[in-house]
């Protein structure tokens, strides 16, 4: 028997832009290199970013400080740095860079999961009202002056928003991706309105600046506690989410196809959403709602790797980490001595990149 001739079909297959046609092949060939390369880039990024800042510290000084804290001072015969420069490196810059890396990685992974789960290329980790809920929680405590409760309130707000969104979607009927997105939108708008109201009603004097900084997202206040929280969240939840590559692949053609491939669709969807909410909540509680990372990174990385999640997830995490570290470095040096919240930089970069992706005619996916 003969094999079926593709030409038997409607028309001779039009030859699309070569880039798109063999991107898959290219991706497969390069796949082995992407992960190790991005690990190297991330490590280098962290090492370099720590040495950059408005204060006048030489690279050698920075390394001296880190080495002494790591206990290598004696071995390498290094004198510790003075208390102040040492504090700048070890208590300000290093936690900040590490937190930015963790947050970037976590947001990127959550972005991939959300986009695949809702089959919506415009989805991001905050889709289900997570960031609006967190913002509402944060603003309430900021206005009440209970700043110390900020992380808890932000996390609680994110989780409450998710519960509300899923509850609303469930109350309508079976939970479908569309319903989930719409419910999340409703919860988002509600929380955003409440946040605006609280700000308008109670913010006095300069307190709006704090709120604005949180709403835009900033890692300026990162401490080693932030590193611990975000790092742990990314290591535990992020790794779990990043291992769901095959499951997310199964969703490529929709829920029915996934079910037919043996995936327990409803249960998996719940688990993944809860995982994303917990991870996003933890990240947002430390850094505020930094935008565009979760939205843009998955698309950018897909351009390199194609749609296979097994590579897309870890690579997005690594690229997200590097990206946010660089964005934060810009945020604290470009306008020195002033500092802008990193969310402004990610938006400034993210929006044109998004437009560029659209303009070049590539599928935004």
């Amino acid at each position: 028997m003969t094999s079926l001739r593709p030409a038997a079909d409607a028309r001779p297959a039009p030859d699309p832009a070569p880039g798109r046609a063999d991107r898959g092949a290219r991706a497969r060939r390069g796949a082995a290199w992407w992960l190790p390369a991005s690990v190297v880039v991330l490590v280098a990024t962290v090492l370099v970013a720590v040495t950059i800042g408005p204060a006048d510290l030489s690279v050698a000084d920075v390394w001296r400080s880190i080495a002494t804290h790591l206990g290598l001072g004696g071995a390498l015969g290094l004198e510790p740095l003075g208390a102040l420069p040492d504090g700048m490196v070890w208590e300000l810059r290093l936690p900040r860079v590490l937190t930015a890396a963790a947050v970037g990685a976590g947001l990127a992974v959550c972005g991939v999961v959300m986009q695949s789960l809702t089959r919506n290329p415009l989805a991001d980790p905050y889709l289900l009202g997570l960031s609006s809920g967190a913002s509402l929680g944060a603003v309430l405590v900021l206005v009440a002056g209970l700043t110390v409760l900020l992380p808890v309130a932000a996390f609680g707000g994110a989780v409450a928003a998710l519960a509300a969104a899923l509850g609303l979607a469930g109350a309508i009927g079976t939970i479908t991706p569309t319903r989930t997105v719409l419910a999340g939108l409703a919860v988002s708008q509600l929380a955003a309105a409440a946040t605006s109201f609280v700000i308008f009603w109670s913010a006095t004097g300069d307190s709006y600046r704090e709120i604005l900084s949180w709403l835009m997202g900033s890692v300026a206040g990162a401490t080693w506690t932030s590193v611990a929280i975000t790092g742990l969240a990314v290591l535990v939840l992020g790794t779990l989410l990043a291992s769901t590559g095959s499951i997310l692949d199964a969703f490529t053609f929709g829920d029915t196809a996934a079910a037919a491939l043996g995936v327990p669709v409803a249960r998996v969807r719940w688990l993944l959403l809860v995982g994303v909410a917990l991870l996003t909540g933890a990240l947002v509680s430390q850094s505020g709602s930094i935008g565009f990372v979760g939205l843009i990174l998955p698309h950018a990385v897909r351009l390199l790797t194609g749609a296979r999640h097994r590579l897309l997830l870890p690579l997005s995490a690594l690229c997200g980490a590097s990206f946010l570290v660089w964005a934060d470095t810009l945020a604290r040096t470009v306008f020195a001595p002033r500092e802008v919240p990193v969310g402004i930089v990610t938006a400034a970069i993210g929006a044109p990149v998004f437009a560029l992706l659209l303009w070049r005619g590539r599928r935004v996916a």
């Binding site: 409607a10 898959g24 079910a259």
Partner: protein, 289 residues
């Protein structure tokens, strides 16, 4: 080039499909009392369906008769509702499909939907490799076996040359065949298809049905919903005719595709001729009255 599906040595597939047996009892699909209702409306009313192993069975019926719903319930994608006469049973080769764990079921049966689309830049090969997911651990990547099975599936439907193309750039017919290849890559013993010949040119339709007949020849049980009665007449051995969620007739195609059965269901006047060479029915239709 021969298509080699079915001779792969993966475990767990088609243990009972050796020896095509026209008697549905032991090797084919035997579903009873399948019902499904939504929002108070009864879409399927206690449907009994059989599909013999080693044959291509057609599921026929006008729009709205419940064909898609029936296939989805049989595939385990939609749970059946409690029927008026008792709980549904879907047995295949002696195994209760509805009671199987999902992954095992996915290794036994494959389901090709009517419309499955994506916006993502998935390549054809990647799309077909999805069919291997039930066969490997969720944490593992593709093995060589997986890739070999995918290639075989691509060859069988004739889209091997498109392996590196993105699915979104294909024509409707090419996409349909990629979905069929994905199902074939699952190496199922039972394959359910919902209108697999939509979007296809005549030649491609014939090719698709020929693939299904090849599968049947290897002992796979094939049940395909078709809306083109002529295709069914030409290619199916066994047909089930649904109307308004009930089985109106089932059996050999020559027995079911007759005016007495078709006219009331479709609201037309049917004339059946016999093809001189194949002996199969040839149908023509005229409006009623």
């Amino acid at each position: 080039m021969t298509s080699d599906i079915g001779t792969d040595t993966s475990t767990d597939t088609r243990t009972a499909a050796a020896g095509p047996d026209a008697d549905t009892g032991s090797a084919g699909l035997d579903a009873t009392r399948v019902s499904w209702s939504a929002e108070g409306r009864l879409i399927l009313d206690g449907v009994d369906v059989t599909a013999p192993a080693g044959a291509v069975s057609g599921l026929l019926g006008p729009n709205g008769s419940g064909k898609s719903t029936l296939l989805r319930v049989l595939a385990g994608v939609q749970p059946p509702s409690a029927g008026p006469t008792g709980a549904a049973r879907v047995v295949f080769a002696g195994t209760d499909l509805l009671a199987l764990p999902r992954r095992r079921r996915a290794r036994t049966l494959a389901f090709v939907e009517q419309e499955a689309s994506t916006d993502l830049p998935v390549t054809v090969l990647d799309a077909v490799l999805l069919g291997r997911i039930p066969h490997r651990s969720l944490l593992a990547g593709d093995s060589d076996d997986d890739r070999a099975a995918a290639r075989r599936a691509l060859d069988a439907v004739g889209v091997a040359g498109l392996a590196d193309r993105e699915v979104t750039t294909l024509s409707g017919g090419e996409r349909q065949r990629v979905h069929m290849a994905r199902a074939l890559a699952q190496e199922p013993a039972l394959i359910l298809l919902d209108e697999p010949t939509n979007h296809l040119d005549i030649a491609a339709q014939l090719d698709a049905l020929r693939v299904l007949r090849d599968l049947a020849g290897r002992g796979v049980t094939v049940l395909a919903a078709l809306h083109d009665l002529q295709l069914a007449a030409q290619h199916c051995d066994h047909v089930v005719l649904l109307a308004d969620g009930r089985v109106v007739a089932a059996g050999d195609v020559r027995d079911v595709l007759v005016p007495e059965v078709l006219d009331p269901v479709y609201g037309v006047r049917t004339e059946v001729l016999v093809h001189p060479r194949t002996g199969r029915p040839v149908l023509t239709f005229a409006p009623r009255g």
